[in-house]
Amino acid sequence: MPDPAKLELLTQTPGEAGFQIVEIDSSRAFWAFKPQRLPSTEWQLTPQPVGADGARNYILNNLRHDRYLLLNSKEHFLWNYFDGRHSLEEIARAFYLSVGAFDYSIIRQLLTKLYHCGLLEGRHAMDLQPSHPAAIDDRWTDRIGRRLMTWRRISLRISNADRYCSIIYDHGGFLLFHPLTFWLSTAVAILALALAVRLTPNAHDFTYFVTARPFLITSAMLATLLVASMLHVLVHALACKSYGRRVREIGFFLLQGVWPTFYADVTDIFMSSRRARVTVDLAGPMVEVVLGSVAILAAHASNPGIGQALLLGAGVMLWESAVINLYPFNFLEMDGYNILSDSLAMPMLRQQALALIPNLPRRLRSVRTIDRAEWIQIGYLVLCLASVLVYLIAHLDVISALYRSSWR
């Protein structure tokens, strides 16, 4: 950390000869700084429900730049004081009197967040990009890092997604969110499950056709999955529209930098209720449930053969996809995780849990000091780890079975 920057000022007193020179360093000026948030017409603050950890979060939306921030209760306290009338020193004192303790880094972190989100006056600085001398930037590790970042950022976006979604919603999309649609879908799903059990003996047909016509079957399955994924995302977006919120974008990206995935950015749903968020989360997997169920019903109505095998295979695959999507404990932010975090009103559960890992041994040595939020995070970690282990063990069994059969 470099020394604070210094400014020398030459000041004069009216009516007096001579002058004084005063040196002011930036750290002194920092505490006298009076942060000024944007006018209230340019942002929207929505309190979130009290979480299972007993804390309340807030979502702050920069309406001009369409950027969102999550504030915890301490940051929300500070935000209320960023009115241009209170210096940081006064704010820090008020915070100390209110909370009883104060970590000065909270103010710096919040300022960084707010500048980055363009929520403070002087926001012209928000788009400054760090620059480094060329010699430092040219190291091979930096070059590899940049390539990886470029790869991870590969994405495709539909601009005006909100407009397209509004048109689809107004021209019949709204019917998807009628209560009758939900009950009808549930009835179809139950019927399909019952019929799938009856069709189980036909499953060996599917295995037969996979080996007999691998290209056709695989292509059909992939195409089905692709279409279902696109519809899944579209229905998330339409659910967001059904609550009158905006769809920021629809697109394609690499989940965790690896897995090609379609997405709908429905961040604006955080300005609505918890029920709305859970509905949006559930709407996507319902596509796979309905399509899978229809495929199974069609398979049941079909004569045995490649058509029936394809329909049954697609139905089972879509149902599996829905179940995997709805399972919350896999370290991924899929719909099931979103439902969990929304239900608990802990939107950063996964990130907090992962951040806890390095400190976990130390925290577990003093169990009594572990608070409610940390217990929830530990619970999430344990269930995720257990799920991954079960998944691996189950598949190791399949792999070993394949290995044995290949040597017979």
Partner: protein, 171 residues
Amino acid sequence: MHNVPDFLQNVALFQDLASADLSTLAGLLVSKKVSAGSVIFRELDDSDALYLLETGQVVISKHVHGQVDIVLTRFYSGDFFGEMGLFDAAPRSATAHTEVDSSLWRLDRKAFQQIFSDHPEIAARICYRLVTVFIERLRATNEQAREAIRWGLEATGYSPTDHPLFGRKST
């Protein structure tokens, strides 16, 4: 009586001149004594001379607001300042105060123009050295601008670090 040529030999601006040239130049300089805390020239004053600082200390500042100036730089014995006044009739861009009792020599624009017409080879050597000094001062100004911006960023808590924004991408 000051030994003007001896002092001039220590002035960076004239380091390329021979003794005879310095003697010629000395006849064009005007001596000036200024007490501590005095103003040599103010920002927006008429600009028509360069100053050589024989002894003392001068602070150059630029008005910010009210009674407050920002200090741009300081000059010490052997330095020169106000060189823009030799070439440019625009008003002074900054104010010069003496921080301690100081002894100065003034070279008027008219006298400098006289050197140009009567002794072009001396003028050329002075101009070459001036360009070198301008470059040094430009570099210093860039550094100062960087420090001023750093000060502003630090004082307002601004950090260019990217902070992840909140968002939900439903997949």
